[in-house]
């Protein structure tokens, strides 16, 4: 079986000898490298090679000429400029950040709460049922979620509004008013992914050393104390890790959900970068613009993930 030799002592070696030694070590672990190969191949084929398509962000992409032969955009930042000059640019950016921020906050705290409840619950069968039920909605598509939202929240026929009207109130336009739409958006998203998000926290909790709990109990800590001083610190690095990852995709506020649920009345609070790109870029065959915006998003995401990782180092939850 493969074993892991001690690190190389490189300081005192001539170069050629060093190289030979490295090759020898690689050869000695060739099986491991071979097993690594599929993963590396996957990333090269599906993630790195397609990146040359980014070129069309700087070209006037023409379907028939293909990526290489399409003419360069003049000036090269033409498509970026078109995006930045849209009167809706700042609104799109604000909406994207806000929705994504809300989703991050509401996607984290309740999930941790649910994970804590399941973790602390002492009835095994109840835990299992609750866990299964709570992560089931994750597998529903947003079209179905929207259907459910209509059934409950529609102004004329929704269940909630029927109660409101029966109780003598006026129907509340949950799905068509700028005041409620983001809450509905975030609410349905939280409902969908609550149990799913809790799984990873649960896994982290179950890996906490049980002796810590015993020690805390002997020291006289009650259940809440144990949660506060043992469980939460135990999963702190996982929480931070997930947050860092989420910050990297801060400009993805969930295209699918919003595209299905929005309408003209709520555009000012619901239109995000991705839905704009879909309308302006893809529906009008402007692939260059769509790519340029995608590239812009990726760059922002990259910067954000670097910054947040740096920040996370302070709490020891950094990615690298």
């Amino acid at each position: 079986m493969a074993h892991f030799p001690a690190p190389l002592n490189t300081a005192a070696m001539p170069k050629s000898a060093y190289r030979a030694k490295v090759w020898k070590r690689i050869w000695s672990m060739r099986i491991l490298y071979l097993m690594l190969l599929p993963g590396v191949a996957y990333y090269i084929i599906y993630k790195y090679i397609p990146m040359y398509g980014v070129l069309i962000a700087f070209k006037d992409y023409d379907i028939l000429s293909g990526i290489v032969r399409s003419p360069w955009a003049d000036p090269w930042y033409k498509h970026f400029q078109f995006f930045f000059e849209s009167p809706y640019f700042s609104q799109l950016l604000t909406n994207t950040f806000l929705i994504s921020l809300y989703k991050t906050i509401w996607g984290t705290i309740p999930a941790i709460g649910v994970a804590l409840l399941i973790h602390e619950g002492r009835s095994l069968w109840l835990n299992r049922i609750v866990q299964t039920l709570s992560y089931m909605p994750h597998f529903l598509s947003y079209v179905i979620i929207y259907g459910i939202a209509i059934a409950f929240l529609s102004e004329t026929s929704g269940l909630v509004n029927r109660w409101v009207v029966e109780a003598g109130g006026n129907g509340i336009p949950f799905l068509t008013s700028t005041a409620y739409f983001r809450s509905v958006l975030v609410g349905t998203d939280v409902w969908k992914d609550l149990g799913w998000g809790a799984i990873i926290y649960l896994a982290a909790m179950s890996s906490i050393d049980a002796t810590l709990y015993e020690a805390a109990r002997i020291d006289g800590a009650g259940r809440l104390r144990r949660i506060w001083h043992v469980t939460l610190p135990g999963i702190r690095s996982v929480i931070i890790l997930l947050l860092v990852l989420k910050v990297g995709s801060a400009l993805d506020a969930g295209f699918e959900q919003i595209y299905i649920m929005y309408n003209l009345q709520v555009m000012p609070v619901a239109d995000i970068i991705d839905t704009w790109v879909f309308r302006v870029g893809l529906e009008q065959l402007n692939f260059s613009l769509a790519t340029a915006v995608g590239l812009f998003k990726s760059l922002i995401g990259l910067v954000l993930i670097f910054l947040s990782n740096k920040l996370a180092r302070r709490w020891g939850g950094n990615l690298w």
Partner: protein, 514 residues
């Protein structure tokens, strides 16, 4: 140990190889079956002995997409394949959005269908810009039979920059009109409305006076879509959100004084509580369901949505006493117009991809196909089905038989349109009164379709702003005094002025405006 070591190695190799294969191996080239049609009939084209040519046609099939018969039962495909020595493949999508998405993906992969039937002019123009459609100018002689069957403006309606990339199909005039529950009118002893004001008086009565007699105030006056309601109100004020000729001059309705009056009227109507509160967000069949279930007494719709046999079945099923009445004449505050139609409007745009034209035999077969469906037996086949089975001839006029439902899918093969009047009077003999009545509607000619968006005008942004702000005016959330500053912002921030100037210039060049 030695033995065990080999397993991960082999596994790794297999995994890697599989990955590489799946990445690089495209779909295998489909071998077009080269079996000759056994019974090539006598009137087949001259090169009948040549191989069958595979032709792919892509269009929106709506509901028919899922209702196509199996290949062996598809008598239209069989007949066309035999007569023209082709292997015809229809690629259908169930919605216009899906159509354009699929087409875009295929275009990005340079794998276009041979014949593309566009529903929307914008998409067509985009594809012309991308230079992937065949310029038909050199082939007009070959397409003459189809062009003759369609009529004079077959090419000019879809002209782009003076060039003809497609043949256009004649428009169908299914106007969205007010349909009123006649039985409710009778119950409340109200006369049939003759003016726009009366329509809304009736709507008010339908809201307040319990027309369904269940002692609950659970009905409202009007449903439909907000767009069509506003459109009708605008037209009745002699204005439309479009380019049209007023007093001999080309104008944009957005800038006409009547637009403000129409907006004020819309505000009044929307705030009077007689309109479906969800009218602005109704999707799909929402509105129709509300009307059919007796929640609303007036629906804005066209005859096909109300009077086709299966629709009648639905609302008769919900309420056997129900009766819908179409209002095809209405006097508004300023005009009696009830419909607007673009001078350039068509029911379809048939284009051929440049890829298909690289193979001359194939191109000729495509022309044969289009011409064959344009007139005579071919046209009857794609309109009504097989003679003697789905229709018979009486005095030279086709009459459908009771098996005609089996031929409901044939319309997807109408690649050169159809003679509309003949078609409707044959296929919808029961509904012919409604069809003829809706043809008497006063129509405003508009010209937007001829205009190609100028380069640096972001139509999607401008449209969103326009629609959003108009919605606020319509619901009275913005005061009408703000209308001029709204136009100002539309013109400057959203560059609508560029569109406006370009549109006028283009219409002048085409000879529609002075």
């Amino acid at each position: 140990m030695k033995h065990k070591k080999r397993i991960p190695a082999v596994l790794a190799c297999v995994l890697t190889a599989g990955l590489l294969l799946s990445a690089c191996g495209g779909s295998p080239k489909s071998d077009s079956s080269s079996t000759k049609g056994p019974g090539s009939s006598t009137d087949a084209p001259a090169d009948a002995r040549a191989e069958k040519v595979a032709i792919e046609v892509m269009r929106v099939g709506w509901n028919t997409t899922t209702q196509m018969p199996k290949e062996q039962d598809n008598f239209v495909k069989k007949t066309l394949d035999e007569k023209l020595n082709i292997d015809l493949k229809m690629t259908l999508t169930s919605s216009a959005d899906e159509f354009i998405q699929k087409l875009n993906i295929r275009a990005a992969g340079s794998d276009l269908p041979d014949v593309i039937l566009f529903n929307g002019r914008n998409e067509f123009q985009e594809y012309v810009k991308k230079n992937i459609l065949l310029d038909l100018e050199p082939y007009k002689e070959k397409l003459k039979p189809a062009a003759d069957a369609i009529g004079d403006n077959v090419y000019s309606r879809v002209e782009v920059n003076g060039k003809h990339y497609a043949i256009s199909l004649n428009p169908q005039s299914n106007w969205n009109l007010f349909w009123v529950r006649k039985d409710w009118l009778d119950k409340l002893q109200l006369p049939v409305p003759e003016t726009l004001d009366e329509v809304f008086e009736v709507a008010k009565a339908f809201t307040d006076q319990d027309p369904d007699g269940n002692n609950k105030k659970d009905t409202f006056g009007i449903t439909g879509s907000l767009g069509t309601l506003v459109h009708l109100i605008n037209l009745q004020h002699g204005v439309a959100d479009a380019l049209y000729i007023k007093d001999g001059k080309m104008v944009n309705g957005m800038f006409e004084p009547e637009m403000k009056e129409a907006l004020a009227y819309t505000q009044k109507v929307l705030n009077s509580g007689v309109v479906d509160p969800e009218i602005a967000s109704n999707k799909g069949d929402n509105a129709k369901d509300k009307a059919f279930q007796g929640k609303a007494g007036i629906i804005i719709s066209d005859w096909t949505q109300i009077m086709k046999d299966n629709e009648v079945e639905k609302w008769k099923g919900a309420n056997p006493d129900a009766e819908f009445l179409m209002l095809n004449k209405l006097q508004g505050p300023k005009a009696n117009i009830l419909a607007a139609m673009d001078k350039s409007s068509v029911s379809g745009i048939v284009a051929i991809s440049r890829q298909a034209a690289q193979d001359e035999t194939k191109l000729n077969r495509i022309f044969d196909l289009i011409n064959y469906t344009a007139s005579g037996e071919g046209s009857e086949l794609v309109q009504f089905g097989q003679e003697g089975v789905h229709f018979t001839k009486e005095n030279g006029k086709p009459v459908i038989t009771d098996r005609s439902a089996e031929a409901a899918f044939t319309w997807v093969y109408q690649l050169a349109g159809r003679p509309e009047a003949e078609y409707l009077s044959t296929k919808f003999a029961k509904q012919i009164d409604y069809i003829q009545a809706s043809e008497q509607v006063e129509v405003l000619d508009t010209y937007n379709g001829f205009v190609v968006f100028p380069q640096n005008y972001n139509a999607a942004d401008a449209d969103r702003f326009k629609n959003e702000e108009m919605l606020k005016f319509q619901y009275g959330k913005t005061k009408l005094e703000q209308y001029d500053s709204f136009l100002e912002k539309l013109n400057t921030t959203f560059k609508y002025q560029i569109f406006q100037d370009s549109a006028m210039k283009q219409l002048q060049e085409l000879g529609y405006a002075e």
